[in-house]
Symmetry: C2
Subunit: 630 residues, 2 copies
């Protein structure tokens, strides 16, 4: 499997695009004609630039409105083709994409089209070039790869072949099995794109909503596997039209693209009959068994405030790091570290982002394998010196430059807190346990245009799936929310994408100078027992509007006594087919960080219907400190 991407998929000017494509690790690049036309250099210059970067030009595209033209237009169509051939020879590429005709004057007819392609093949052959035909989903006469293949078959020319594109075939729900009857040598290149499943006009959907394989909902893996099963092992090339990518970071979108192909190849090679695909072997997706710890970076003053809140939440200081200013707080299976070092990564993170939950440690089945897989998928490994005898925990960079530590029980890793820490001498006798057992979920807030990046990041490295996107209505705008979770519930990360800085999520990103963990949710088996303990500890719950409780009582037909208790404790309520959900929030801390406590009895969601009330309450609380309200 060789990887390629069309220049149209990412933003920037041509030299910038090519540099980013090379840096991301692609083998080749499709030159999209407009990128070349707008560039102020000759085709030779472009070819040289591409090759100097170690890339190959896989395709020149698109050549439009070719096949089946009436006699009055036919000659000019071939003249146009000859001019494209001139450019291709100068560029140094042998393959052009001809997409099916959309012109209202085109005549259609399989044999007429086949004759046109035969002649084009003859002309191409004279120059050592090849022609690939692709059925656009909205082609006037040809809009199905099976018909395009029939034309290529009848054209019967060595220099004419088929180009398959996952979007065009899957958007029309064309049977993937039809690919298996196409000989591999007649597939000249494969283009790939995914898309979210929204029922809309095909052209509009294609032009605005395409995304990287694995970022959308189309069966791109099955499509690619069907191709691999033919024995095809050539270029797989991304061709993505997406408004967000067009405005996004060139390098980051290119890196996402490369990751999506590597991940796709890794899935496809596991499909029976598709093992022939040449892809780098890597360990299986990592099974996450839990959240081993969450680490905060803070200065002394913020740390005092944070620790005070942790104590009201029922956490006790259990251990102190032997050589660093790091303290461990525990409750149930939850471990929180507070790092106030004056140097090192935590300190740097503090300097940039202020007090934040900058690192999350995941308990996995095999940390070493997890690291290998993450790196194979383009994750950036992280390491910093540790004192002699201390445990060096493998880590990768995650959302907002924060860290994801990987911990297992195959080595000393699982014993890091015994090895690196000594018991605390503080007794914290006054702290009452709040019965918190485990981290239920970690909520990360990201700029909206990073959402897909991190969904793909998590889902490609870890054994997990993503849930459908939900719109959360913040009083000042829409926040998109999507969850990466595994079946056991040990890994649950909610990603909230903020489109503007006036939303609570957007405010957090702006104030914190970047994406990151905005809240941690802990699980309790008994929300009312927890609420009582919290009260004893002096915890102040986020006050929820009284109006909410009348509605929740009516909506779910709750016992008035229960809704009174919920109201008294500021507990939010939701229910689904699986069971009930109770939510209790802290106020905000620092740049908008907060804690949540949940009880779930079979409930599978995250309380999305309650988000609007939680956001309104948080904003009300923060207002004096300057959330803009206009």
């Amino acid at each position: 499997m060789k990887t390629s991407i069309a220049t149209v998929s990412i933003s920037g000017e041509l030299p910038e695009k090519l540099a980013a494509i090379a840096a991301a690790g692609f083998d080749g690049v499709e030159i999209f004609e407009n990128d070349f036309l707008a560039f102020d250099g000759s085709p030779k210059d472009v070819g040289r630039m591409v090759r100097d970067l170690g890339l190959e030009i896989t395709l020149f595209q698109p050549f439009r409105d070719f096949e089946g033209m009436p006699a009055s237009h036919r000659q000019r169509t071939f003249d146009r083709a000859e001019l494209k051939f001139d450019i291709m020879q100068e560029l140094g590429t042998d393959l052009v994409l001809v997409c099916s005709n959309v012109s209202p004057v085109s005549l259609g007819g399989v044999d007429r089209a086949a004759a046109d392609f035969h002649e084009l093949g003859e002309r191409a052959a004279k120059r050592g070039l090849r022609v690939g035909f692709e059925a656009l989903a909205w082609g006037r006469h040809i809009n199905d790869h099976r018909d395009a293949w029939e034309i290529v078959r009848r054209a019967d020319h060595q220099n004419v072949g088929l180009i398959l594109d996952s979007f065009h075939s899957l958007s029309r729900k064309i049977d993937i099995n039809s690919i298996r009857s196409i000989p591999k040598d007649k597939i000249f290149i494969v283009q790939l794109a995914d898309a979210p499943l929204i029922d809309m006009d095909l052209l509009y959907w294609s032009r605005h909503f395409r995304n990287m394989p694995g970022e959308g909902d189309l069966p791109v893996t099955a499509f690619t596997a069907a191709i691999a099963q033919t024995g095809y092992d050539g270029y797989f090339s991304l061709e993505i039209f997406n408004d967000q990518f067009r405005g996004g970071s060139t390098r980051s979108i290119a890196a996402d693209g490369h990751r999506s192909l590597i991940y796709l190849g890794d899935q496809v090679r596991r499909v029976p009959g598709a093992e022939g695909l040449t892809v780098p072997a890597m360990p299986d997706r990592t099974t996450v068994e839990g959240v081993a710890f969450v680490e905060f970076s803070a200065d002394q003053e913020d740390a005092r405030n944070l620790v005070a809140i942790l104590k009201t939440l029922g956490f006790r200081k259990t251990k102190i790091h032997r050589t660093k200013k790091v303290e461990l707080f525990e409750q149930g299976d939850i471990r929180l570290l507070v790092n106030t070092e004056d140097s090192g990564f935590a300190n740097t993170s503090f300097a940039v982002h202020g007090t934040s939950a900058y690192a999350v440690a995941l308990a996995v089945d095999d940390a070493e394998k997890a690291l290998v897989r993450a790196i194979a998928l383009g994750a950036e490994p992280f390491g910093q010196p540790v004192a002699e005898g201390e445990v060096e925990i493998p880590a990768i960079r995650g959302v907002g430059g924060g860290l994801i530590y990987l911990i297992d029980h195959k080595s000393d890793l699982g014993r890091f807190s015994e090895i690196d820490f000594r018991p605390s001498e503080e007794a914290d006798h006054a702290v009452v346990s709040a019965h918190l057992q485990r981290v239920d979920h970690i909520a990360q807030t990201v700029a909206y245009d990073e959402m897909l990046t991190w969904l793909l990041f998590y889902a490609s490295i870890f054994e997990a799936h993503k849930t459908p996107m939900v719109d959360i209505i913040d009083p000042s705008g829409v926040v998109r929310s999507q969850v990466v979770e595994n079946n056991s519930g040990a890994l649950r990360i909610t990603l909230n994408g903020a489109e503007n800085r006036r939303t609570l999520a957007g405010h957090f990103i702006a104030e914190k100078f970047g994406s990151g963990v905005q809240h941690l949710a802990f699980e309790t088996p008994d929300i009312f027992a927890t609420a009582a303990a919290l009260r004893e500890n002096g915890f102040r719950a986020l006050p929820i509007s009284a109006n909410y409780y009348g509605d929740v009582e009516a909506r779910f037909g709750l016992d008035p006594e229960l809704s009174e208790r919920l109201k008294a404790e500021n507990i939010l309520y939701d229910r689904d087919d699986g069971g009930e959900y109770f939510q209790l929030y802290s106020g905000t801390f620092g740049e908008g960080f907060f804690f949540e406590i949940v009880q779930r009895t079979g409930y599978r969601g995250y309380g999305a219907p309650n988000a609007i009330f939680r956001i309104a309450a948080l904003k009300k609380q923060m207002r004096p400190e300057g959330i803009p309200t206009v």
Copy 2:
């Protein structure tokens, strides 16, 4: 016609929303339940707040999943209704919206639903309340206002009526004539929304794409006229779900909404049979006959540079203002003013925005009437003191706070340049006329979320229509472009909406601190004669990539000699069914302002296919001065 808007249509928290709705001039407001639930005050508080602002609560909504429930759910459904009734009585509103049931457990059946509504009517009547039934376009059993009306008819209760919503009816293309058979007293309220015509899933379309009447493509005027023809003259209430509005400026979106209703009423009252609608009378839409002048504000240094460019474009200084530092430059019918006053509005504009084309004067049939209409539609009039004997030109505030002057020939207005100006003594002998005849179009760049505001502004005040939106691909993102033009071509304003600041358009807005005129296009009858004259004047055309010309020659089958001439002069070419289009650009000036020269021979567009090449060339030129490229 009484005007109302649902709180869900605009962003912000409830008090902020209500204040903006009152400030925009609405008579009433629909309280959307979630806005009330998230608000930390009692229903009585909300009612008081509304009434203190001089508003009426027109509706409490929505009450969901009511009609046709099975016996097991029916009792709780009525219990829920009674709780809503409690809230309504405290709020002080008598009307609730029941939208058609979407619950999978609902049973359907017109008579079952009618019986449910009869009972609900009985309960409502006891409290002096009324119930309105609305068919959601995606209702499970009822999704057509004709069926909803049949249920209301059979419910046969004075306190039960129908709610019509333009989106639900028009999105399903339900025959508008069916409205004419509904008695006016059974229409309890009318909700209005428009939407762009994009073929997609109804619920997704409704939740994200609705906009104000006149901003989209649905026949909302015909829908409203059909209602007015029944004799209905009650509340028309906006209910808009739009991601952009949810993140937009609360006051500005509310003002747009009010303008849209006033404009709609003005159109509807002209429909035969709909004259009964009570709407403020106002003059007809204003006919624009041309661009009388464009005025630049600049300091001395920028003015020198600007004047130098104007001279290379073939403009001569013809007049000087008698009392102000304002000079007039002329060529053909084009008049450009350069204002370097040290005080007054032009100077203030300069201080904020830098050198810019801050004012556009439109020649209209009747300036006085135009002003009256503009003010009736919520435009802000502008005036500043003039010296005795000078002409005071009526004006309104336009895009980015700039000015639109209104000039006619019914008064001294048309002679302002004779009255206020004296002849210039400079001869400008060296300047060669470039045969520029008139302003072809004015290109304004606006933040994307202001696009609809200004489209509605122009189209409601002036006799003009809008063209479909076109996506312009800037190397760093998408720019949305839409044109307001009249049939004569005398008024042509292109609006470019920038989504991020890395696009050329976005850079302009960011650097200039706001939306405004980014370029002026002048018309010539002979682009090559103009190019020759420009060369003589020392004008430097924007260099276009040589690659462009090979493609344009092939694409249009141009005579190679013509394409060589185009290339030599850096002229861009396009063609449509009407004729040909030639475009020649200057480089940028100041914060990204530039000039365009066009020749059109029946061509109706604006060269959108060439925009990508023009943008690439402008960005290349600007790069040294710091357009971010990554």
